[in-house]
């Protein structure tokens, strides 16, 4: 049966904590007075003797211990039960409480209802005014001796209260432990799910890698055959995709007994969409007379007819028009070289100009042709230019990955350096000149490496 109408005195420097406690006590039907420090609280207690005192320890102007000691040495107030609110973070706190004569400890933070229960229990067993029973006890704690003057009942009450506190805290710990264990179980489950998701990702990844490898193999089939050997023509090429799939490709092949077709194609972007387009383009650029080839067809007399480069570009552009432009396009430089005469006819769909390095020793020349990238603008006609090679002349076709290669300061390698490098390579073999250019570009892009596919095709005419 809870008590009501108890006269409670609170000493607490935190206004908010005092208010919370005050409201709870008032609700329980008690009379509450509040002082914000020990000194004021003592004055209030002397003014009217409370039934019980609840006091914080840390307070300005007389701490809880000082206040308690003053109460317990006051003849009128000494039997008022005194509850100390402590964090009990140090065993010394108990000695100090005992020494001050406190009857009970409640550890902070506390539930107001717990404090109320404690209060009721304390009031149920009135304190005896028994000064003689107070003996001086010697206690050793942490190697230090303390002389504590305390009565038996006080000691018992205080010890029981600390024990109760410990039990309450222990119960909290048990609950916390159970919660932890639940959390651990759910973590374990989540972990297992993660492991299985990881396995799934790895499985999908393996699939994708396999698909990409297969696609890369298809792409390599677009490149010149290993045994491409043509009379009076030296051929060297390099092809370095920046991802596993590239938008670049090139080829060189005989079209008929006298003519050789050669091209470099660069599809915009990288990765799957670009490489799919590259493969599709490649099917049209085949030297085998077939329905799909736009390079050669069978003439009425049964002989192979070679399409002029401008016609090839115009037709490709027509073939790659969709109702709605997807934004995917390609540039191409396509040439047909007549082996007996050294005449090169070529057309360009927005592709960088080819470079001729003359055998005579003059400076390298750029030869381009007007024309927009293919698939970009519907219904356009492409121009065709011709270049007369001299014996020993070299020509180089390449993708924009060469002149547009960026160094770490985002400066482009540029056409000038490229031309100078190719000119410097004239005294070495064609093979060496191409690999020197590739090395120079790769060195330029250090340390990150090229961000675009790099394609270089070098041809030397030696009739």
């Amino acid at each position: 049966m809870p008590l009501t109408g108890v006269d409670v005195l609170i000493a607490e420097d935190s206004r908010m904590q005092a208010k919370i406690l005050q409201r709870r006590l008032t609700e329980a039907g008690h009379t509450v007075r509040w002082a914000e420090n020990g000194s004021l609280a003592l004055a209030m207690a002397r003014e009217r003797r409370p039934d019980i005192i609840i006091s914080d320890i840390e307070m300005p102007v007389a701490t809880g211990y000082e206040f308690c000691k003053a109460v317990k040495t006051d003849a009128t107030l000494r039997t008022v039960p005194f509850i100390l609110l402590s964090t009990l973070s140090d065993p010394i706190d108990i000695i100090r409480g005992l020494d001050a004569g406190a009857d009970n400890y409640v550890t902070k933070p506390y539930e107001p209802d717990y404090l109320l229960g404690r209060m009721n229990a304390l009031l149920a067993t009135p304190l005896v005014s028994d000064e003689d029973a107070a003996a001086t006890l010697e206690v050793t704690l942490a190697g230090q001796k303390f002389l504590v003057k305390a009565g038996r009942q006080q000691v018992l009450n205080l010890l029981v209260s600390t024990f109760e506190n410990a039990v309450a805290k222990n119960q909290e710990l048990v609950v916390a432990n159970q919660e932890l264990s639940v959390t651990r179980d759910s973590l374990q489950r989540t972990n297992e799910e993660l492991v299985s998701l990881n396995a799934e990702i790895s499985r999908i990844n393996t699939h994708m890698v396999r698909d990409l490898e297969a696609a890369a193999k298809v792409q390599r089939s677009l490149l010149p055959a290993d045994d491409v050997a043509l009379p009076s023509l030296d051929i060297t090429w390099r092809y370095v995709p920046c991802q596993s799939l590239a938008g670049d490709f090139l080829n060189v092949f005989p079209l008929d007994e006298e003519r050789v077709g050669l091209f470099v194609v660069d599809v915009s972007g990288h990765g799957v969409p670009s490489s799919l387009m590259a493969v599709t383009v490649g099917q049209f650029l085949t030297p085998k007379v077939s329905d799909s080839s736009i390079l050669v067809r069978q003439g009425p007399d049964g002989r192979v007819v070679v399409a002029p480069p401008a016609e090839v570009a115009t037709q490709l552009n027509r073939l790659f028009q969709a109702d709605e432009f997807s934004g995917l396009y390609f540039t191409m430089l396509y040439g047909v070289l007549h082996l007996p005469s050294g005449r090169l006819d070529y057309a360009s769909g927005g592709h960088p100009a080819l470079v001729r390095v003359p055998a005579s020793g003059g400076p390298p020349e750029f030869h381009g042709a007007e024309g927009f990238p293919i698939a970009f603008v519907p219904e356009v006609e492409y121009a065709q230019n011709s270049l007369q090679l001299q014996p020993g002349d070299r020509i180089y076709l390449y993708s924009d990955g060469v002149p547009e290669a960026m160094d770490k300061d985002q400066e482009a390698y540029g056409e000038e350096k490229m031309a100078a490098c190719l000119e410097g390579g004239r005294t070495s073999s064609l093979e060496a000149s191409v690999s020197d250019l590739l090395e120079a570009v790769e060195a330029w892009c250090r340390p990150k490496g090229p961000l675009d596919d790099i394609t270089i095709l070098g041809v030397e005419w030696r009739p």
């Binding site: 432009f325 007007e370 990238p373 603008v377």
Partner: protein, 118 residues
């Protein structure tokens, strides 16, 4: 009307003014976002006049040209006009290499470009 992440937009009379905010337009994600935002901006407008300002752009991949090609078709298909300005020399090189400097209407800065819209 500035609800976009990649483009800053405004209107001068009937002309849609678009400033690309990015310094680099290189990866597919930026391209896709620009494409989406441009589509949102132009909506169902048939043949709008559009001015694209590149003055913030320092690097641009050739895939961006494809996007410009799409815009070009959409705008000119409806008898609108697409103009570009603020293109720095490094970026202009990308247009030049592909001959597209001859397809697109390119001007020095936005006042110069606006003057040609009359």
């Amino acid at each position: 009307m500035d609800q976009f992440r990649r483009i800053q937009t405004g209107k001068k009379g009937d002309i849609f003014m678009v400033l690309f905010k990015d310094k680099k337009i290189l990866d597919d994600t930026s391209l896709d976002e620009i494409r989406t935002e441009m589509a949102q901006l132009l909506g169902k407008a048939t043949g709008p006049d559009v001015l694209l300002d590149f003055s913030h752009v320092e690097f641009m991949s050739s895939a961006m040209l494809g996007l410009l090609g799409q815009l070009h078709r959409k705008v000119t298909g409806g008898n609108g006009r697409l103009k570009m300005c603020g293109i720095r020399p490094e970026i202009f090189q990308v247009f030049k290499l592909t001959n597209l400097d001859k397809l697109f209407s390119i001007h020095k800065d936005s006042p110069a470009a606006l003057a040609t819209f009359t």
